[in-house]
């Protein structure tokens, strides 16, 4: 049987095409390693050369520009990140999971469709716009409500980060609840459970791991968020004493300072070391969330 030319070309090209597809598929692994490698590479000479890693993690003073003695301690920055993230999580996790339960189990179908679209649009708002909202709208509101001298502080950043991570927590939480088989719902209703009992006694335990992963990923996003906290949490590098103190986070420090550093200088490399730290944190959060979700899947199969 004679094949047409294009057919024959197609057959000859097939292995090439398949390998291109394979390579693209594997590229995700390559990129993750490349990110780690290149960020680490820029920071490594400083990390292994001059930096005392214990001092780096426990010194409160971040004074890279000091002429007398430059100090590179990220403890205050870590505290800043932790404070803002903790506040955000405190607001966003209950609110996000509550909203997920409402959307998934309580609200009428029409409203659910509308709410899901609204949530999707919320998730799309760029972080610089959230920062803008914190800086221009929330800032005067906080000054007015609390009498603080400046409204750009932990409270502001925490609220903004909470609003940013709610859509993630909510949509992932809803997915987790939806993933519970309908037979569970039917069985509970057949036994006379109210919808709240169904949620509380059946769905929450069944979707526990998925909900936990949703919360984790929401928190992970807060830790890595940059522009919003840069604009909304202020610039004081300090261990905060109250909710109304301005702080500086790890991410904001990189964003604020990298532009002013000399390429290859200590300060420049120290910022890349912070980047490596952030990368490690996000890897840990994501892998943990993945294991948490996979854990429940394994149990159900077995």
């Amino acid at each position: 049987m004679r094949q047409t030319l294009s057919n024959r070309l197609g057959v000859a090209a097939e292995p090439i095409i398949e390998w291109t597809i394979r390579l693209c598929g594997w590229s995700a692994i390559f990129f993750v390693f490349a990110i780690f490698f290149f960020v680490f590479r820029e920071g490594a000479p400083f990390l292994f050369g001059k930096l005392d890693i214990v001092e780096f993690l426990t010194n409160v003073n971040w004074r890279p520009d000091s002429r007398i003695k430059a100090q590179y301690g990220v403890l205050a920055l870590i505290t800043g990140t932790a404070a803002v993230t903790a506040l955000a999580a405190l607001i966003a996790v209950p609110a996000g999971l509550g909203a997920a339960v409402f959307v998934s189990e309580f609200c009428p179908r029409r409203l659910r469709e509308v709410l899901k679209i609204v949530i999707e649009l919320l998730a799309a708002i760029p972080s610089v716009v959230w920062g803008f909202i914190g800086y221009m709208v929330l800032n005067p509101l906080i000054i007015w409500a609390t009498g603080a001298p400046i409204g750009i502080n932990i409270l502001n950043g925490g609220i903004i980060l909470a609003l940013m991570s709610v859509p993630i927590i909510m949509s992932m939480g809803e997915d987790a609840l939806r993933a519970v088989p309908d037979t569970y719902r039917e069985a509970a209703i057949a036994l006379g459970a109210s919808r709240w009992q169904l949620v509380y006694k059946v769905l929450m335990p069944a979707a526990k791991n998925g909900l936990l992963a949703a919360a984790l990923l929401g928190i992970g996003r807060s830790v890595g968020e940059t522009m919003a906290v840069l604009m909304a949490t202020g610039h004081s590098i300090q261990i905060p004493g109250s909710l109304l103190d301005p702080v500086r986070t790890l991410t904001a420090t990189i964003a604020a300072e990298l532009g002013e550093t000399v390429e290859g200088g200590d300060h420049y490399r120290a910022l890349f070391v912070i980047g490596t730290l952030l990368m490690l944190m996000s890897l840990i959060v994501n892998v943990t969330a993945d294991l948490v979700v996979k854990g429940v899947r394994g149990k159900q199969n077995g």
């Binding site: 057959v11 097939e14 398949e18 597809i21 693209c24 598929g25 594997w26 590229s27 995700a28 990129f31 993750v32 990110i35 290149f38 960020v39 820029e42 609110a95 909203a99 409402f102 309580f106 609200c107 709410l115 679209i117 999707e120 919320l122 799309a124 708002i125 760029p126 972080s127 610089v128 716009v129 920062g131 803008f132 909202i133 800086y135 221009m136 709208v137 609003l163 709610v166 909510m170 109210s194 919808r195 709240w196 996003r221 890595g224 968020e225 940059t226 522009m227 604009m231 990189i254 964003a255 990298l258 910022l271 890349f272 980047g275 952030l278 990368m279 996000s282 890897l283 994501n286 892998v287």
Partner: protein, 315 residues
């Protein structure tokens, strides 16, 4: 009669529906349910309504400045006057270029994950990598861009380096939506095609991709919205404070070369809000509203597309 007496003794009268009257336990159950439903509903409202309020404030404050001239003029007088044309064009450059880099890789990766990858540990690692890539903080992407594209690849701070950084950052969006779109094509379509003697790639090219193309497009549209709004990854890889660009003519539409630095709308919003003094409020509100409008309308297109597809699906 004896039956009725027995029923009455059990607290059931023979009046109409009271046979099914709620017991105390039942009533409490319903009360708790109602309270829970209203609290959860309130929580959901309290997440959505303030945002509607904020959007309203933004639009009201931006209204006096928003005009056609605002969109088509370049920033003037140290960015305290004029419009946002140059940043707008810069954002357009970055989006198109990052799309050109990310779309082919992302779509093929999605094809691999759904059509070729078996259920084994290798695939699990790829999946894990995609998830992790999506979770890398944006500022770390910026550092990667500086290390890999600006310095190592020698691109310098340029449109090209910034676009590549954005491309890597938005890759997971395209990969996961492509995979979902392909997974929605019924397996029987593929089997029918294989039974006709078609190879794997022929099946993908002639049957799977044409049936999934619209789903893939929604993912690509989402990538556009993501790339248009991101600020951190372009901070040190190509975006600048201000570039003088031609005011009129064709040159004003194509002001940047691939190896030039450019302005971008998201970065512009950041600078005029926090870095430049003497910018009128209206100007930054208007810039914010344009950025939100851009991103939201792109997303709405994607959502509309999805709804339309769901209605049209024939299987």
């Amino acid at each position: 009669m004896a039956d009725a007496a027995a029923l009455t003794a059990h607290g059931v009268t023979d009046e109409g529906n009271t046979r099914f009257a709620a017991s105390d336990v039942e009533r409490r159950k319903l009360l708790v349910e109602r309270i829970a439903a209203s609290i959860l509903g309130l929580v959901t409202c309290s997440l959505v309504l303030p945002l509607v309020g904020i959007m309203a404030v933004l639009i009201v404050k931006a209204m006096p400045v928003l005009s056609w001239a605002f969109l088509t003029q370049n920033p003037q007088k140290y960015m305290t006057a004029g419009g946002i044309w140059a940043p707008l064009v810069g954002t357009f450059y970055l989006v198109v270029l990052s799309l050109a880099v990310a779309a082919p890789i992302g779509i093929l990766a999605g094809v691999y994950l759904n059509e070729y990858a078996g259920d084994n540990w290798g695939t699990r690692i790829v999946n894990m990598a995609v998830v992790n890539l999506a979770g890398v903080p944006s500022i770390v992407h910026a550092l990667f861009g500086v290390g890999a594209f600006v310095l190592f690849a020698g691109m310098g701070r340029s449109v090209m380096a910034a676009s590549c950084t954005l491309a890597i950052m938005t890759l997971p969006v395209i990969i996961s939506s492509t995979r979902e779109a392909l997974a929605a094509v019924p397996q029987s379509f593929r089997e029918a095609c294989w039974n006709m003697g078609a190879s794997r790639w022929q099946t993908i090219r002639t049957i799977v991709l044409p049936n999934a193309i619209s789903g893939i497009l929604t993912g690509v549209i989402l990538q556009v919205s993501r790339a248009a709004g991101e600020t951190a990854p372009i901070l040190f890889t190509g975006a600048v404070f201000y570039v003088a660009t031609p005011e009129t003519g064709l040159a004003s539409s194509l002001p940047y070369g691939l190896w030039d630095r450019c302005m971008a709308l998201s970065y512009h919003l950041f600078t005029i809000t926090t870095q430049v003094t003497g910018v009128s409020e209206g100007l930054s509100y208007a810039t914010a509203v344009v950025l939100i409008g851009l991103v939201i309308s792109v997303n709405l297109i994607s959502i509309g597309f999805r709804v339309y597809l769901r209605g049209r699906k024939r299987w």
